[in-house]
């Protein structure tokens, strides 16, 4: 029973991390048809930003208490700024060439981890976290690490915030309409391109937050972390339907749990394999599933 609880909580924590990456990825693809290969890099930027601030480089920030919250905010802000910069400088000039947009993000996805490893070295760095989050708590007889809860809570907050934004605000309405039919929104005289920067900012913010809290989950940061998580985020996006935030949430929970349980109860690594095969199978069974709708 305790193993089951631990696996479930770890799977949910992993799923929460996937959701933080995949929600932005899904919105960006849904609205702009750009598969953002630099999304993992945004996560890495958030992770390194938080690590840098929490290591005492930012006045006021530190590894414990309010200082850590500030560090996470700083990392998230840096990641958001990087995402906006990415959209304005790299993606926007290629607006008329969709395939080149994807290629350009591939280039950024290669360059950013290389730059990070140039500055801070290619090896993993220990991630400083507050005492309160490094312990465990008892749940139905299992000792569950607290950081799983933090990730799950963050993912729930992001999900609720995104749903409120998409459902209750005018900008959210434009984004939803743009995912549904971009040409029609443009024909109605609304400049969809302004929404592009917005979804990039939202996606970058969520991914950077994922990076900051992923540092707690993994206990360390390394330059290639984001890129290796990206493939699982792709699985989530495809499973949940492109452009659907709720779909991404459900899919990330399923993927996280499947991966954890398969890795534990069969050979290690088989869970990863199962998830990847699931991606191929899903795409083949419902090839139209890529054009999801927002819910």
């Amino acid at each position: 029973m305790s193993t089951l609880v631990l696996l479930t909580m770890t799977g949910l924590g992993l799923g929460a991390l996937y959701f933080l990456i995949a929600s932005g990825l899904s919105l960006i693809f849904g609205l702009m048809d750009v598969l953002n290969f630099a999304h993992g890099a945004l996560l890495s930027i958030g992770a390194y930003g938080t690590w840098w601030a929490a290591s005492g480089n930012l006045p006021g920030a530190g590894p414990g208490g309010a200082g850590f919250v500030l560090a996470v905010l700083f990392g998230t802000a840096v990641g958001t700024a990087a995402a906006v910069l990415l959209e304005l400088a790299v993606v926007r000039p290629l607006y008329t060439r969709p395939r080149e947009q994807v290629l350009a993000t591939v280039g950024v996805g290669l360059a950013v981890p290389a730059l990070l490893s140039g500055i801070w070295g290619p090896d993993a760095r220990t991630f400083p976290g507050p005492e309160a989050l490094s312990g465990t708590f008892g749940l139905l007889g299992a000792q569950v690490p607290v950081n799983r809860l933090v990730l799950i809570a963050a993912a729930v907050v992001v999900l609720v915030a995104l749903r409120l934004f998409l459902g209750r605000t005018r900008h959210g309405l434009v984004v939803r309409a743009g995912v549904e039919d971009r040409a029609m929104v443009t024909a109605l005289g609304i400049d969809v391109r302004r929404a592009f920067t917005l979804v990039f900012a939202i996606g970058g913010c969520a991914a950077a937050l994922g990076g900051a809290l992923g540092g707690l989950y993994f206990g360390s940061v390394d330059p290639r972390q984001g890129t290796s998580l990206l493939i699982f985020a792709f699985v989530v996006v495809v499973t949940g339907g492109m452009g659907s935030v709720t779909g991404a949430a459900v899919a990330s929970v399923v993927i996280g749990l499947v991966q954890q349980f398969a890795n534990y109860y069969t050979a290690a690594g088989l869970g990863d394999l199962a998830v990847v095969v699931l991606l191929a199978a899903l795409l083949l069974i419902r090839p139209r599933g890529l054009t999801g709708r927002l819910a």
Partner: protein
């Protein structure tokens, strides 16, 4: 008045050779043969190439680097058969390359087969894999196809690093058994032989691609790239043609994997990763997708830069620079990534378009002057 007559003359002479541009001496058309000749005799030369290579041209180290460059030039050319000729964006090309390398190695190590037989079986394995996975992947189109190929390649990568039954060697990879390879392919003294093999592979790939894109099937590929729906309307089924391109490219990649096995003396899991495919993509776009020489130039340039920029970073000139310049310059992948983004933005069509663009600029200036 004279220009049209020359053109007709050229056409009757041979429909295959492209008519030379006005003002281009006929001899210049033979530059590929001249370059090939130079490359063939390179191992006999002791000319130092300061800056470009570490030692003299014919030294083992230089030949090894040159052979790697030629190998990747060929790989990029083969990959472009999908990307630039048929319009298929595959993120799983590394799988077929790695399968050629790993399958051959496993046949050598586990079955103890002679190299020639193991290589043939390795190639056949790569082709069979491309045929099976290609026929499944091509059921979806567009970005879905890219992601299915990515998923399959990632599954292969996980399998290799999981080391089932100890046959792939996991994270370490596996060295090829020197005892089972022909003696003229083993050891630093025989680097020149490996270099010629890499060169032969490049020539073969260029010939196959050039021949394939001119064949009737190649015409259909071009049509699929331009507008798949229109090809369908013409009564042709794109699926079979796309599968042909996928299998031909997969076979070329598997063959490249075998050459890589010989060149590096083993199979490494790095060749199975999606990063490997992405680097092929960067090479192709850098050089010029859909052109005859572009992918090769991109592959050679990328591989050379990847090796040499690392050495450059260790040199005194870079080490003395302030950190702001030193750190980015010491990361070859950073420079290549930035260069790639710059090419995508500023030079659509890649380096292969550079001459014609410069000519256009010069021409515009000329007409403006008149």
């Amino acid at each position: 008045m004279s220009t049209p007559t020359t053109e007709t003359h050229e056409r009757t002479e041979g429909p295959v050779t492209p008519a030379p541009r006005a003002g281009t001496p006929r001899l210049l058309r033979w530059w590929p043969a001249a370059v090939l000749l130079l490359l063939v005799v390179a191992p006999f030369s002791a000319v130092p190439v300061p800056g470009l290579l570490d030692g003299p041209l014919g030294s083992a180290g230089s030949l090894q680097l040159l052979a790697t460059c030629l190998l990747f030039g060929a790989l990029a050319t083969g990959y472009d058969l999908l990307l630039g000729r048929t319009g298929l964006l595959s993120f799983g090309h590394a799988l077929y390359f790695a399968s050629g390398s790993y399958a051959t190695n496993v046949f050598l190590l586990e079955a103890g087969l002679p190299f020639a037989l193991a290589a043939v079986l390795g190639l056949l394995f790569g082709i069979a894999l491309a045929l099976v996975l290609g026929s499944v992947s091509l059921r979806v189109t567009g970005i879905g196809f890219s992601m299915v190929t990515l998923a399959f390649a990632q599954a292969g990568s996980i399998l290799v690093s999981r080391n089932p039954g100890g046959i792939t060697g996991g994270e370490e990879g596996r060295a090829a058994p020197a005892g089972l390879l022909p003696s003229w392919l083993v050891g630093i003294d025989h680097t020149a032989n490996l270099y010629w093999i890499a060169l032969a592979y490049l020539v073969l790939t260029l010939s196959v691609v050039a021949w394939a894109v001119r064949s009737p099937t190649g015409r259909v590929w071009e049509g699929i790239k331009e507008n798949e729906r229109r090809v369908e309307v013409l009564g042709l089924k794109p699926y079979g043609f796309k599968l042909t391109a996928f299998v031909v490219a997969g076979a070329l990649a598997a063959l490249g994997g075998i050459v890589h096995l010989l060149l590096t003396g083993g199979s490494t899991p790095q060749t199975t990763t999606s990063d490997f495919t992405l680097s092929l993509l960067v090479m192709v776009v850098l050089g010029g997708s859909g052109t005859r020489w572009g992918p090769m130039v991109g592959g050679i340039l990328y591989t050379w830069a990847d090796h040499r920029l690392g050495d450059l970073a260790g040199s005194g000139t870079v080490a003395d620079l302030p950190a702001v310049l030193r750190v980015p310059l010491s990361q070859p992948l950073f420079l290549l990534g930035v260069l790639f983004v710059a090419v995508v933005h500023l030079l659509p069509g890649g380096l292969a378009r550079l001459p014609s663009r410069l000519r256009a600029v010069a021409h515009r200036k000329e007409t403006a002057d008149q």
